[in-house]
Symmetry: C2
Subunit: 459 residues, 2 copies
């Protein structure tokens, strides 16, 4: 198989071909590393690449298939990337923080261990914003290098968008997986809070941090859940096959009001397309004023970041980027009762959001992922529309849903009740079937135009 | 059946007799109300008694049994009391706080609704310390009126100890159910955090508040769990019958060091008796220094009490008793990062405590419930030994285990892993069979001496 075709494969599909020995892990990992050589620097997607180690692992993965009684895992031999705030044994994990540049964890984070156990081959650590907060990273948006790649999981989104890996891990404390997914034209998914262990993440906000995943198709998200879930996942009624009943969706009107006119019209068009396909779309709200939800989210992150960074900040103040530093400093002077009030508000917000779903018997809530196309590189973009579902701990997914007039990706977000991760994927799959596929990025001259197969993009 | 015999019955046993129409709800409720008339004032156990309403309910409970297709609940017709910080529909719930004296909730707390649904008949609200904190209440210890009845669930413990009701609800945020149980010679049980809903409790500390129960036998605790649990309860391997395998117990040595010499010797004697009966007793610790556990507990309560009481305190400062007022005032100036540190310490403490159980494959940890007999009425006693398991959210139970040289009750505490509530009861049942029963209180001249049947006291 030619290199570009190998790199078009989804992770699940690639693993199936490796298992059947139609392709080898060595050739797909080799192809990925060549693509990283071509595009890594241009896209700024990587903090560390471990080529030799990855090739040795790929060789071993191929050899294992010839071992008697060997049962290959769900991701056997498939290359993947890991955001550089997630610990990887013997591979530096620095969180874009200079004092950590020589920090080499002894153990894999739980989620990395789970993916490796399923056979996946780590090829490197992807670029993150500093400690997964809001100061922009050095990753570049492959659709237009003058625009932000989003954040904080910018490198993972860019690497997946440009075919350097089929799957990469991110994290989400506010909107750090879904927002870069939308800006870079890939799928971003954040599971129910607690479904995937956060042990081994450098914490930003210990009660809000989630592991997220970036992929080019929904099937790979499903594989990720199966492999990484720390507890049994609720199967949905339709789990035996693809969902054929059109879903009931709740269009969150105040989310549209946050968006620019172009995005608002785009999401209305999508809702109409879903309805034309048989979906029910009802108009709902967040259950609480969005400003209140965002205030609670902000205060919790400030306080928890302050708790984590207080002592480091004393020693290394000048190594902190300004937004994170301000966040941690503000967090130090918040009185505890305000934090408790924010936690109580958080619970209320979760009840209200899930209440919307229950009251209208919805499969999912529907919003734009972000209120606009990717803005300039001075920001990672606006987390306001991703935040509510993170605060509530609900599973959420962003699908690439079209291109703006400027030719940049737009994203649509779906969120379901806590625990309904699988149901959410089925809803997303139905909706993806009713979306127009978007083409591949053409914003960088060395762009791997066409490598991201259309059909592949949404399933 | 004569009145005293009726009042000796456990709740489960009484319900069985009512179901079989061997006694009526009306006669047992009548007997309870007469006992309340005799002893209520002397013991200070009641904030409100609703005699007429209770008798009407009892009449209805008796009539229901003659209704075709009526299925009586597990506590059908049995009188019970509810601590006056737990909401009861149409019955004042004042938390010993003067500005709340006319506060009449519209709805029952979830746990009260569950007990009523099982057929139990509310006869009144039991005395509590102010908002379930540490300022002593007006309840008196029936073993010696010069000693504290403990707190904060003092009225519930006293009412059960003196046969005014077979079962009463308490709450526990630190040691508020198990400590008064120990001081008054009854059983106190606190379920796994979250197993019984706290909806409808006047909060003291929202993440630590538990509903507790006071009874005279373990069977009634089991019935309480069955009736009140908000989610399915894990059954233990031996759930089909009484546990016959002697348990593996972890004697927490630092807890003994907190106790006075008499209690220390008493618990060592118990451990020897359990071993003589075949139990394995290994020596363990709390997994962390007790001082650290208590500091985290104290800070969390201060902050959360401050959050709840901040606005009330502005308006009604002079109505607050001094300990609660100091607690809420200190809590207002705690920075949020200290609270987050306390929450993290809490999680660590829970991991370490459960780690002790896992490492030594224990059925339960074993400590004195309190380090001494009931002290004077100027205090509700020392919560240090009940606190760790509340902080960790683990189920814990106190059994009356003997009398001090002064003739006052002593208690032994068992705690198990979160979720192992039923297993804990079975361990407690085995241990109760190896305890000497204690006699009934003789400290008040009008004491209902002998009414608390010995056999009844521990099963």
């Amino acid at each position: 198989m030619r290199r570009d075709a190998l790199l078009e494969l989804g992770a699940t599909e690639a693993a199936a071909l490796i298992r059947r020995r139609q392709i080898s892990s060595t050739e797909i990992v080799q192809a990925a590393l060549e693509r990283v050589d071509d595009l890594g620097e241009l896209t700024g997607a990587w903090a560390t690449v471990i080529s030799e180690f990855a090739l040795a692992e790929a060789n071993r993965a191929d050899a294992d298939l010839w071992t008697r009684d060997f049962t290959p895992g769900r991701l056997h031999g498939v290359p993947f990337g890991v955001k550089d705030v997630i610990d990887t044994a013997n591979v530096p994990t620095a969180a874009a923080f200079t004092p950590f540049r020589n920090r080499v964890p002894v153990e894999d984070a739980a989620v990395v261990a789970a993916l490796k156990k399923a056979g996946a081959v780590l090829i490197g650590k992807t670029t993150t914003t500093q400690f997964a907060f809001a100061d922009p990273s050095s990753a570049r948006n492959p659709w237009a290098r003058s625009r932000t790649a989003g954040g904080s999981s910018s490198g993972s989104a860019v690497a997946v968008a440009t075919g350097q890996v089929p799957l990469a891990l991110g994290t989400q404390t506010g909107g750090s997986t879904l927002r870069p997914a939308a800006f870079n034209g890939v799928i971003g998914f954040k599971p129910t809070l607690g479904l995937v262990s956060t042990v081994g993440l450098l914490p930003l906000s210990w009660t809000l941090d989630h592991v997220g995943v970036l992929t080019r198709n929904i099937e790979d998200v499903r594989t990720f859940i199966d492999v990484a879930a720390a507890r049994p996942v609720k199967q949905s009624a339709a789990a035996i096959g693809p969902q054929i009943v059109p879903p009931r969706l709740g269009l969150v009107v105040p989310a549209l009001e946050e968006a620019c006119e172009e995005v608002r019209a785009h999401i209305r068009d999508l809702a109409n397309a879903f309805m034309a396909g048989g979906a029910i779309v009802v108009e709902v709200d967040f259950g609480l004023p969005l400003g209140l939800i965002l205030a609670a989210q902000r205060l919790i992150v400030q306080v928890e970041a302050a708790t984590v960074h207080r002592r480091l900040l004393e020693r290394h103040a000048s190594d902190y980027l300004p937004l994170l530093r301000a966040c941690a400093e503000v967090g130090q002077v918040v009185p505890a009762h305000s934090y408790v009030d924010a936690l109580r508000l958080r619970r209320l917000a979760a009840d209200r959001l899930e209440g919307q779903i229950a009251r209208h018997q919805l499969d999912a809530l529907l919003t734009p992922t972000v209120g606009s196309e990717a803005p300039g590189p001075e920001t990672t973009g606006d987390p306001s529309l991703q935040n509510p579902f993170t605060l509530a701990g609900m599973p959420s997914i962003s699908l690439p849903s079209g291109l703006s007039r400027n030719g940049l990706p737009l994203g649509v977000q779906f969120a379901a009740r806590c625990g309904d991760d699988i149901q959410l994927l089925e809803t997303a799959r139905w909706c993806a079937d009713h979306l127009e596929p978007i083409p591949a990025p053409a914003g960088i001259s060395e762009s791997p135009a066409g490598i991201i197969g259309r059909a592949n993009h949404f399933r």
